[in-house]
Symmetry: D2
Subunit: 383 residues, 4 copies
Amino acid sequence: MASKELRVAIIGYQFMGKAHSNAWSQAARFFDLPLKPVLQVACGRNETALRAFADNWGWQNVETDWRKAVERDDVDVVDVSLPQHLHHEVAIAAARAGKHLFCEKPMALKVSDAEAMLQAAEEAKVTHYVNHNYRRTPAVRLARQLIDEGKIGRIFHWRGAYQQDWIVDPEFPLTWHLRKETAGSGPHGDLNSHSVDLAHYLVGDIKTVSCLTTNFIKERPLPGQGAATFSAGTGGAAARGEVTVEDASLMMVEFANGAIGSFEATRFAPGRKNRNTFEIYGSEGSIAFDLERMNELQFHSRNDPEHAQGFRTILATESCHPYIKHWWPPGHIIGYEHEFTHAVVDFVDAVAHGAPIEPNFHDGLKCIRVLEAGLKSAASGRR
Amino acid sequence: MASKELRVAIIGYQFMGKAHSNAWSQAARFFDLPLKPVLQVACGRNETALRAFADNWGWQNVETDWRKAVERDDVDVVDVSLPQHLHHEVAIAAARAGKHLFCEKPMALKVSDAEAMLQAAEEAKVTHYVNHNYRRTPAVRLARQLIDEGKIGRIFHWRGAYQQDWIVDPEFPLTWHLRKETAGSGPHGDLNSHSVDLAHYLVGDIKTVSCLTTNFIKERPLPGQGAATFSAGTGGAAARGEVTVEDASLMMVEFANGAIGSFEATRFAPGRKNRNTFEIYGSEGSIAFDLERMNELQFHSRNDPEHAQGFRTILATESCHPYIKHWWPPGHIIGYEHEFTHAVVDFVDAVAHGAPIEPNFHDGLKCIRVLEAGLKSAASGRR
Amino acid sequence: MASKELRVAIIGYQFMGKAHSNAWSQAARFFDLPLKPVLQVACGRNETALRAFADNWGWQNVETDWRKAVERDDVDVVDVSLPQHLHHEVAIAAARAGKHLFCEKPMALKVSDAEAMLQAAEEAKVTHYVNHNYRRTPAVRLARQLIDEGKIGRIFHWRGAYQQDWIVDPEFPLTWHLRKETAGSGPHGDLNSHSVDLAHYLVGDIKTVSCLTTNFIKERPLPGQGAATFSAGTGGAAARGEVTVEDASLMMVEFANGAIGSFEATRFAPGRKNRNTFEIYGSEGSIAFDLERMNELQFHSRNDPEHAQGFRTILATESCHPYIKHWWPPGHIIGYEHEFTHAVVDFVDAVAHGAPIEPNFHDGLKCIRVLEAGLKSAASGRR
Amino acid sequence: MASKELRVAIIGYQFMGKAHSNAWSQAARFFDLPLKPVLQVACGRNETALRAFADNWGWQNVETDWRKAVERDDVDVVDVSLPQHLHHEVAIAAARAGKHLFCEKPMALKVSDAEAMLQAAEEAKVTHYVNHNYRRTPAVRLARQLIDEGKIGRIFHWRGAYQQDWIVDPEFPLTWHLRKETAGSGPHGDLNSHSVDLAHYLVGDIKTVSCLTTNFIKERPLPGQGAATFSAGTGGAAARGEVTVEDASLMMVEFANGAIGSFEATRFAPGRKNRNTFEIYGSEGSIAFDLERMNELQFHSRNDPEHAQGFRTILATESCHPYIKHWWPPGHIIGYEHEFTHAVVDFVDAVAHGAPIEPNFHDGLKCIRVLEAGLKSAASGRR
């Protein structure tokens, strides 16, 4: 086990705090790391909840002021696990304090914020990483490997969709996800940011964007106004507020290399729980992936014998597949949180060797630019 | 068996001539028809080939002049199985001669041609049908039934794609399919016409269209110029010509009912042989279909018990499923040509009862309008 | 088209009569045959029903006495489409009359009957064929081709099952299928005969058999005794009778070549409509097939690159796949009845060339032997 | 977090040591446990390797003598993670020392050993558990729930298989798995023990067994005798030894409740990496599962509307599914090691409440009895 330590401060302790804490814990147990991650300090505003979180995951200290946390001398890395609109302020301060940056996605609400984050990180010469975690699914990494080996050839098509169904019910309340001021956008930002990053990773840069967004449910009950809100005066109806982000987004793009692509992001696809799916078609073969079966990659090769061609289901759990030899034997699948562990493994390696890691703030910014262009196109109706 | 006859003239004897002839033969054998189809006359320009075709399929007479064929007194129905750019002239003449019209899809190259066809058919008060055959796949018909029963609810999304791979090889020659003057367009017209018709059938009218088309291979060898074309002067290269139709097309649409949809049509998707696939998501459930597994329909219901929800694979071969009781027992699947037989069955029924049939020339025209709007959008970059 | 004719007499006009008539009609339309099949005479006992059948399918004559039919001078082939227990008498008489034999499966109820049939056919030197139709599914034929090419290597395992669900309801009546005297056995004979023939075809001869059979529903309502059977005396209950054939059968076998195999045949598998599925595992690769997706073959090769191995779904609709070039373009699937057409095509070819065809009466007898050994093992509990 | 501790000694630090250590670590982080597991002592013979293992996983002490470890006063639970033939000695000693028992599967090599283990545990009144881990896959637990709810009805069929492919290569060496004295049996014990336990859990007790086993590769190279073993005298061939366990096993069984079942266990199924699959058919519906897609359960209901029946794929990642609400949101799948965590969670709960847990030593013994009967049947050829 590594003797030199890498001390981490995590800012934020909600859903992503859990996923990141698990990754920081598990990475050294399953992988040989050049530096030993230390869960140094957890930071949040609610001290009681924060302390329970820290106890559960083994964070050795707590801070309720994020500025103090990111400036501590005993911290090497700042893990930004906050809601998206708070990323840039924390990340910039951490960069200025000379900390390496492990930042949850999407990188920022706006292109200008992302640009400032990148500039700060570059000036501080720290390692910077944006956690588009699906790049580190073994099957996705295998897709990239097949592309790099020439097995797909010149790419013609990207066909992607990220579909969920958690707000189909019109009585689902108007949470912060559904308000522009807190969420920036709906699935276009939340889900398409994953898909656009994967398209960048697997196909290349995007040149033009056409986008279409819509709202299926315009108003929803205000949160925290359940059965208790009946009143004689209003006839019993709960108060409602306006949904100010889109419910679904479609995009068509041209890539710089001549490929074309489509994206769909929605929270209105009953039965699709977390379906992040893409198909890639090229001159030599094709690839298809579905996150709900994240251990599998579909691959078709035009170079197989003519009578024996077909999409094959590669179960990406062989020891020759990315990351897998550190886990379990073939056919023993891994799950969602393992991607975060892989990210920590690669991040620790990058820090130890002073090497860059992808996706970094350049990649994060590029993604935000495409999404922002998409929203402009949706408003104007133009490519 | 019906004693009254319905005498058919078929114009065209290529691929569609084969599929249509089979349908006219098989319909009365497997179904109880109110009129007995008679294969009265087959029409084509090459008399030798035509006669072999007629002998094979039992067409009782041949004609090499289509005008004569459509005006024969002993003909009730004209089956237009020609290439698309020849439809309107034949159909209009047949309508004026008082013949019922069974017309292959897409209805016409241009909106104006389709309008003239519709007008002629309406004036002649004949039964008119456009053979968007996939409407009569039992699984697709079942999809419509589930929608009509309210099992999908308010529709949010259409996600369609029609993918083939037969021209991925850059040495595939410049056949008539790849020239604008003969084909009108590429997969946008050929394949999207199927998808748009299905979207009309299952979701409703389309209000706005954004489209993106591209060419991956700009030049191809001229046909009929194989190994024999080497010449010292050109250094051995076969002569090449320009591809003047698109290789692939993407569309995003808004439906009149508030749903949004996407379409992809391509001949550059290795491994997809004839994949006409769509997904429909609504407030109560979802549907998915893939023509390569045309006997199956995927259906998800939000009204199943919460812990037992999932996409179910309905094998649409039960006697309660559309058309099936006339074929084989459950689990004995049917194939591509059966759709044509179903079309003949319903067409004969419509003629016998003087009732309209869908899709008719109204529907065919509506489809052409969307496709033409798509090409305009592709050129302008605007919705 | 062939000018020389091959005149067929069909004995039996029920379900198999329909499937066979269609095959005799379609074969010459889609394939180039060396002899032209002529639907000469149809034979059955109920003249009214027989005549309707003959009119529908174009059988030129009818006979109500099967002996006369099989002895007619204007008949070259006798197609035995009768229930299994009637096969041997008709087939033997037809052989003695010098007719070629196209016999529905299973060949006979008993080994001794099958032996007599084989002897009669051999002595008459006629072409004899048992219609184990699934051998002529293109995907199954492709499986054999892959095996012949060495792509599977030495075979270790056969894992087969034939599952249906049509008698799960205990109120399903006691039809002839469920009585030993008419059906011989239940799914063991009806369904396993298909599976055993496929195992013979793809793996090789079977050396030892262990079998287990059972009955889930011991008694059922007598047929034709619906709502009308209420009577005061019996308290309203419909009369019931004993089920005398098994409801399900399991078998374990050793093949002569050292492979081992398992078989399951049942009519008690809800949701499996006509699932005839098998898996074959060998030293170089594996194969899997499911009749409900009969256009597909799953194939895994140990010789693919290590990181890109997986079961691939071959859509067996390419023109290089068996029989397909006579039907439709790639991706346009075929159905159940096409197998019968393929059988006719190969049978006509065998007759024309005086060549044997598989599976013939040797193969049919071999199959009956295995099934009979299975029933003995089921009774004794011994291998 | 629980304040009262449950102190664990783990005996064995190989593959299962890793999986168990992870489970003891993760359980309290994701679940609310009534007792806090403490990784008190790890035990193994190689002190260097043991210490590295203990450091990695946080085991606070090490012991190289298992007797000392199981008798320590500061230990409440003994986790037996040793090879199968060592289970009974350690487990019996631990029981006599009053420790609760968490024992890896299969429980023992022989029925007599398992009986002694059960007796010791019962006499000591400790909690005893055999880690047939697949019972705690959420989808499998859901299968049991559906059965308990009556959604499958009376069960007719179990169709199971456990298939791997890691010794297909004849040059794979003669490791301890392939020798009877160390492994007891081959896949019959290793893999079928999983399947038989699942059949007991989901269908019920097994009444009769017929079994067939075989060897495909009789001799293999001795391990550790690679390229270095060439010698002039032997012509360069590596020394080989006899494989003394079976390579594959088939079983047919009758259950006490009238259902019948089949089992297949093999290491010779190319492309099947860890495919533990079963199908269950009953009077009301059916279930199918495949461990390679362990987050999914296939379910067919005969009570769905007739035209909308089919196998549905339940993605068992909803918060209403067993164990899931402690992990991630819907559609975020879990992996192999999570089953072990679930086992720890339920085991800790059982200890805290003095309640029994399934599968316990009764269940483990029952499983060994079926397997031993199978080997007898394989030898005799009798049911």
